[in-house]
């Protein structure tokens, strides 16, 4: 539940943050809202083009590969792994924030390290997926896949796929950079001296947002 308000509490009377969070955290939320609309615009435009098309490639056919093992009888296996990695890294991020609440520097470092690892693993997976698809002839402006109904598919499919997953991957990359900086700052005792780990919380918000976007991207491209 939202925080209980003591009787007579006036949030908008001045002298305090009406949102009861520090400035930086509120601004991070506002930024995430704007980024949510950016991604929302990308995904909704994808949906619009898809709705305006008579047919579209079948994701179960396009996304069947898996590193090392090659073609899988089970489609979507690789993207399931990617989703799992990202959700796990979100969990480790929350645990880092929790450790920050307890001012436990060592645990913060440990969980941030795992979060960074998860982010790098996800990027590696995405890079593999792109390389593999490129090897099959897919790229911006090139679409080798057929539609479900057998008609030749337009380049809309690959254009949208690479653009949106690329934009998301860029966010993951910047998130990893931010997390690395957070780890270094933690290690150097910056937050210890400040007495709080609020910066880790803000980085955490960004990281969860990245995970959230992936949930939608995964659904739109691979499930629907």
């Amino acid at each position: 539940m939202a925080q209980a308000v003591p009787a007579g509490q006036k949030w908008w009377a001045g002298g305090r943050s009406p949102f009861n969070v520090e400035y930086g955290k509120l601004m991070m939320w506002y930024f995430l809202m704007s980024d949510a609309f950016t991604f929302g615009a990308f995904l909704i435009s994808y949906g619009t083009i898809r709705f305006s098309s008579n047919s579209w490639p079948d994701p179960n056919e396009v996304f069947r590969s898996f590193p090392i093992i090659g073609e899988m009888k089970i489609p979507l296996a690789f993207v399931s792994l990617m989703t799992f990695i990202l959700i796990m890294s979100s969990v480790t991020m929350v645990l880092a924030v929790g450790a920050g609440h307890n001012n436990d520097k060592k645990s913060v470092m440990k969980w941030m390290f795992f979060t960074i690892l998860g982010g790098l693993a996800f990027l590696g997976c995405q890079a593999w997926e792109w390389t593999h698809l490129h090897g099959e002839g897919a790229w911006w402006g090139r679409n080798p896949f057929m539609n479900i109904n057998g008609s030749p598919s337009s380049t809309n499919f690959t254009n949208f796929f690479f653009t949106i997953t690329g934009f998301h991957g860029f966010h993951v990359f910047s998130g990893v950079i931010i997390n690395i900086i957070m780890l270094i700052m933690t290690w150097r005792g910056v937050f210890e001296r400040r007495g709080h780990y609020l910066m880790i919380e803000k980085a955490g918000l960004y990281w969860h947002f990245v995970d959230l976007v992936w949930v939608f991207v995964f659904t739109c491209f691979y499930l629907l």
Binding site: M1, A2, S17, E22, G40, I49, S52, H208, D211, L212
Partner: protein, 146 residues
Amino acid sequence: MENSHTTTAVHTDDGHSFSTKAIWRTFWILLIITVVELALAILYYETDFLPKHFLNGIFVIGTLAKAFFIIAEFMHLRYENRNLIMSIGVPAMLFIWFLLAFLWDGNSYKNLRNRYDSHYVDKYKAQPKEKEGEKKTEEGKKPGVE
């Protein structure tokens, strides 16, 4: 530059202790929803056991559920100030209109284009598949789709 203490006093007490249990419980919920979605997708691929539209509805609901859990628990929004929750939740309602309007538009564009595309009409003349009664009042001027 230290700016975190220049804001007016912030109550950092959450009113509840940070709960690792809730986090792991959320993780399991997310994992189970994802696994179920994948199982349904693969099952559909093998057997076609449900109409795709119905399945898509399940996927969308599952995705929204995951989104709510991530935002509420991982991003901690559920435990925040009501003002902050509203600042996020109310503008997010715009997405509902956003999505509906644009998908409706895309669909209308497809129907209108098909109706006037002689190749399409010839090919599918046998079945009046597209809804001929489709409203012509849509003013969607969609950019050309190849």
